[in-house]
């Protein structure tokens, strides 16, 4: 693996399968009495969150702690970031504290890339979501969840599996990372959204697109619903929430058209009643809670593979 994890596109198929296989071994840790491994003893992981996040930050924190790393949480609220400190000065501070990895979430697309390639820090940088760009560990945990339910034999093989990603693709870093990673792993991805919520240039992505949810989901092996990110919307992307929900929401009626084995996913946070109805979210097809559990194992795998061995050019 490379030194940083900035984009799902950085992962070759071998890299991605290595992460998923490692995660599969690490997942059993959750069932043990002592949920601790010594691999990252003495390493420092900084969670640098410029945007609000519950599950991603907690998940990274749990992952780093279970690998015995020291964790420093750094969020924009209540730090000098809210006083107007620049990314560069923050980075220099982290470098001075000797961080081995920086897990960064930022509202601006490309901020983790800037951090990794500016020369400000020597640590590994893990993108935990940047603007509307990418969220590679979410894609990895989604792929992990998919391969546990739909995988054929080897961890990570999703050859020929059909995945529908539905909703606000335009503002979704999850959709972009998933489209790239799932294509790498051999799945056939279809993005389903109203024309206003598909990004410009989606024709260059390794995916199909559709405006018609009812036509796509009966063939899908997995349906991934995306949250409508109203906080990022400053125009009219659809007439009314009710109309959006009727055309692109997953409710009990649509769920009845799914194949027997098809699973329903959501990266969270969900808006029940908007993109997904409560009965679907709580149904036994829904693997939404399992996605959270798998997130810890996948993030442990990423941190272990980035930091567990000899650091490239490091002193150890």
């Amino acid at each position: 693996m490379k030194r940083h994890l900035l984009s799902a596109a950085d992962l070759s198929r071998d890299d991605a399968e290595l992460v998923l296989q490692t995660a599969a071994e690490l997942r059993s840790l959750a069932d043990r009495p002592i949920k601790k491994l010594p691999a990252l003893r003495g390493r420092t992981v900084v969670n640098l969150f410029f945007e609000d996040s519950t599950r991603t930050r907690i998940s990274f924190e749990a992952a780093a702690k279970r690998l015995s790393a020291d964790v420093i949480n750094f969020s924009a609220k209540g730090s000098s970031l809210s006083k107007g400190e620049s990314l560069k000065d923050t980075a220099l501070t982290l470098e001075a504290m000797g961080a081995d990895a920086v897990v960064v979430r930022h509202g601006a697309s490309g901020a983790p890339h800037r951090l990794a390639h500016s020369g400000w820090v020597r640590s590994s940088v893990v993108n935990a979501g940047d603007g509307t760009h990418e969220h590679p560990t979410q894609a990895l945990l989604d792929a992990f969840t998919l391969s546990r339910h739909l995988g054929r034999g080897k961890a990570g093989s999703l050859d020929g599996r059909r995945v529908a990603i539905v909703g606000d693709v335009l503002h979704s870093r999850v959709a972009r990372s998933n489209a790239l990673l799932l294509a790498t792993l051999g799945a056939e991805v279809t993005l389903v959204a109203p024309p206003t919520l598909l990004p410009v240039g989606v024709d260059t992505w390794p995916v199909e697109t559709s405006y018609d949810l009812d036509a796509v989901i009966p063939k899908a092996d997995a349906v991934m619903m995306l949250r409508v990110q109203r906080e990022r919307m400053n125009g009219g992307f659809f007439p009314t929430p009710r109309e959006y929900s009727r055309r692109y929401g997953l409710d009990g009626r649509r769920m009845a058209t799914l194949q027997e084995h098809t699973i329903v996913m959501h990266p969270g946070p969900m808006v029940r009643g908007m993109e997904i109805s409560a009965d679907v979210a709580d149904s036994d097809r829904s693997v939404i809670v399992e996605q959270v559990t798998n997130g810890v194992a996948v993030r442990m795998a990423v941190l272990y593979l980035l930091l567990g061995g000899a650091q490239p050019g490091g002193e150890e």
Binding site: T22, S28, I34, P38, A39, G308, A310
Partner: protein
């Protein structure tokens, strides 16, 4: 006079050099049968035993010992595997390694006699790592060690309780265990005669 290699060196990826066969399939079978009986004798039965193989080749060895114990005692000994990668003291000396499979039997290891099973005992560092790993999994009543080959050169105060064969070796030699199931045949071979460049340590 410098030793002349009998055969030209095989290119990488081709059939590996044959090496000197120290144990063949029947020797290995006899050694495992003896180890199984020794375990039973020492433990006074199979009652609270758990066999944990260290991947990759310790695992099929543990399974074969369990089969032999089952045929003698009519009792299925819980068998699993214990990956020690994250507990190794040389973890940071190489790029991050892929993890191997860990599977602890449902009964757990608390209060039981755990027999660690590995193919070759060399520096003892793998076993130290395994003891640390066990420590995070529970508190066995006792931990024993069974190995197919003890080749000496210990770097830690660790010894095996059950040994298939003591094999005096030089540090430059490499001991290779192949087992049907993972490899083609059952065999223990020695590669790299003294005087050859040092091989990779297991």
């Amino acid at each position: 006079m410098a030793p002349v290699p009998a055969q030209p060196e095989a290119p990488p990826g081709a059939t590996p050099e044959p090496g000197r066969v120290v144990l063949d399939a029947r020797d290995i079978a006899r050694a495992l049968t003896r180890i199984s009986h020794e375990i039973l004798e020492r433990n006074k039965g199979a009652g609270d035993l758990v066999l944990l193989g260290i991947p990759s080749r310790g695992v099929p060895l543990a399974e074969r010992i369990a089969e032999r114990i089952a045929s003698v005692e009519g009792y299925d000994v819980p068998t699993g595997s214990l990956d020690v990668t994250m507990y190794r003291d040389d973890l940071r000396l190489k790029p991050a390694r892929a993890l191997l499979h860990t599977e602890i039997p449902e009964e757990g290891i608390d209060g039981r006699t755990v027999v660690l099973v590995d193919d070759v005992l060399f520096s003892g560092r793998t076993i130290r790592a395994a003891l640390d790993a066990l420590n995070d999994l529970g508190r066995p009543r006792a931990v024993r060690l069974a190995v197919l080959v003890d080749r000496g050169h210990r770097e830690l105060p660790i010894r095996a309780d059950f040994v298939g064969k003591n094999l005096p070796t030089s540090l430059v030699e490499r001991v290779k265990v192949t087992l049907a199931g993972i490899d083609d045949v059952d065999a223990v071979t020695i590669h790299g005669e003294p005087g050859a460049p040092a091989g990779e340590r297991p």
